[in-house]
C-alpha cells in the first residue's frame, strides 16, 4: 500500500513542477521581449547624450573662465546616493548587488546618518532602506518598464536642485550597467560635481555662444546631469529585464532537472510495485502447490 501512495505523491509533484516550468518559461519569453525593447530605448538615447556631452565638453575645455558650481569640487559634508532597483522580485541577484554596493559604500565612508541621503527608484530599494532605517529623501515606485524622460524629469531635476542648493555636495549613482543579455555589472558613478568632461570630448568646433558661456552652462549643465540620470535608468531597466530573463531561464532549467529526477523515481517505484505484485502471485501459487 505504501508504494501506491508514494506513486501518487510523485505524480503530483511531477505535475506541479511541470506547471511551474510552464510559467517560468513564459516569463522568460516576456522578459526577453521586454529586454530587447529596453535595449532599443537605451540605444535611442545615445545620440542625445553624445551630442550633449560634446557641447558641454567643448564649452568646459575651450574656456577656463567659465565656471559653474557643478564643475567645481567642494568640501563634502553630505553625499547623495541615487540607486536604481526594480519594483518586482524574480530578477536573480539584480537588486542585492546594488544594495550591497550601497551598504558597502556607506559603511566605508560615513559614520553617521547625517552624512548621506538616498534617492531611490524602485520598490525593492525603497523597502530595503525603510527596513534598515536609512534616510530616503525622494523615491519613485512603480516605474514603467519602458520609462520616458517625462517619468523621471521631476526626480532628476529635484535631485540636481539639491546639489545646486548645497543640500548635498556630491551625487553618486549606483545601477546595473547592461553589458549583454548574460552580463550586467554594478556601476557606481560620481555624477556631480561633473569631472573630466573636457578631456573626454576632443572638440573640433569653436563655437560662438549666444548669449555667453556662463549662461549657457547655467542651462546646459542641469540638463546634462538630468540626462545622465535618465541614461542610467534606461541602462538599469535593460539590465533588469536581462537579469529577470536569466533568472527565469535557470528556474526553467532547474524545473527540467527536477522533473527528470522525479520521473526516474516514479518509474522505479512503479517497477518495484509491479515486481512485488508478481512476487506475491508467484508466492501464492507456490503455496497452493
Amino acid at each position: 500500500m505504501k508504494s501506491l501512495a508514494s506513486l501518487r505523491d510523485l505524480k503530483g509533484r511531477i505535475d506541479s513542477t511541470k506547471k511551474t516550468k510552464q510559467i517560468t518559461g513564459a516569463m522568460e519569453l516576456v522578459s526577453a521581449s521586454k529586454m530587447s525593447k529596453a535595449e532599443q530605448n537605451a540605444r535611442g538615447f545615445v545620440p542625445y547624450a553624445d551630442k550633449l556631452q560634446e557641447v558641454v565638453g567643448s564649452i568646459a575645455s575651450s574656456n577656463t573662465d567659465a565656471k559653474h558650481p557643478m564643475l567645481i569640487k567642494r568640501e563634502v559634508k553630505k553625499t547623495g546616493y541615487l540607486i536604481i532597483t526594480s519594483d518586482r522580485g524574480l530578477v536573480g541577484a539584480y537588486n542585492s548587488h546594488i544594495l550591497k554596493s550601497l551598504v558597502n559604500n556607506i559603511e566605508q565612508k560615513h559614520s553617521s546618518k547625517d552624512e548621506y541621503t538616498i534617492i531611490v527608484i524602485g520598490r525593492k530599494g525603497y523597502d530595503f532602506c525603510r527596513k534598515r532605517g536609512l534616510p530616503v529623501t525622494q523615491s519613485i515606485l512603480g516605474m514603467s518598464d519602458h520609462p520616458t524622460f517625462a517619468d523621471v524629469k521631476n526626480l532628476a531635476s529635484e535631485t540636481v536642485q539639491m546639489y545646486a542648493d548645497q543640500e548635498i555636495d556630491e551625487l553618486h549613482i549606483i545601477y546595473n550597467h547592461y553589458v549583454s543579455a548574460i552580463s550586467q555589472v554594478v556601476t557606481n558613478k560620481q555624477l556631480l560635481p561633473i569631472e573630466n568632461i573636457g578631456e573626454q570630448a576632443a572638440s573640433t568646433s569653436n563655437y560662438e555662444f549666444e548669449p555667453n558661456q556662463e549662461e549657457i552652462l547655467e542651462v546646459l549643465l542641469p540638463q546634462y546631469a538630468e540626462s545622465l540620470i535618465f541614461g542610467a535608468l534606461l541602462d538599469g531597466k535593460a539590465s533588469e529585464h536581462a537579469a529577470s530573463m536569466t533568472a527565469m531561464r535557470s528556474a526553467t532549467d532547474n524545473a527540467n532537472e527536477l522533473i527528470g529526477d522525479l520521473e526516474l523515481s516514479y518509474n522505479r517505484a512503479r517497477q518495484a510495485a509491479i515486481t512485488q505484485e508478481i512476487t506475491e502471485i508467484v508466492g501464492g501459487v507456490a503455496a497452493l502447490e
Binding site: N41, G44, F45, P47, Y48, A49, K51, L52, V55, I59, T148, F149, A150, K153, S205, N206, Y207, E208, F209, E210, P211, E215, I216, V219, L220, Q223, E226, S227, F230, G231
Partner: protein, 132 residues
Amino acid sequence: MSTLAVSVVTPEGPILEDSFDMVICKAETGEIGIMPKHIPLVAPLQISIARLKKADDTKQVAISGGFLEVQPDKVTILAQSAETADHIDILRANQAKDRAEKRLQDKSDTVDRYRAEHALKRAINRLEIANS
C-alpha cells in the same frame, strides 16, 4: 543651393532628420534664423516652436528645454521634449493647460509657481502648433 542637415534629438531618440533651407528658432535672447554656412553657434532655446523651411514648405516642431547647436552645414536641436504637429496629443495638452491654470490661480504658498508657469507655457506651445 546648399542645404542644412537638421536633426531634432530628444532623450527618447531622434524625432526628425532631414535637410532644410532655413531654421528659425526662438533663442533665450530672441528669434534667430539659421541658413547654410552659418558660423558654429550654441544657444539655449525658449519653450517655443522651431520652424524648419524647405522651399515653400514649413515644418513646425514644439520644443521645450532645448538648445541649438549649429555647424556650417548641420543644425542639431537638442531638447528634453520635441513634437511635430501630428504627434501632439491635443487632449492631454488641454488637460495640462487647465491644470496649470488652476494651479496658478491658487494663491497659497504650496504652489510651485515657476513649475506651473512652465507647464502652462509648454501646453500652450503644443496647442498652438497642433491647431495651426
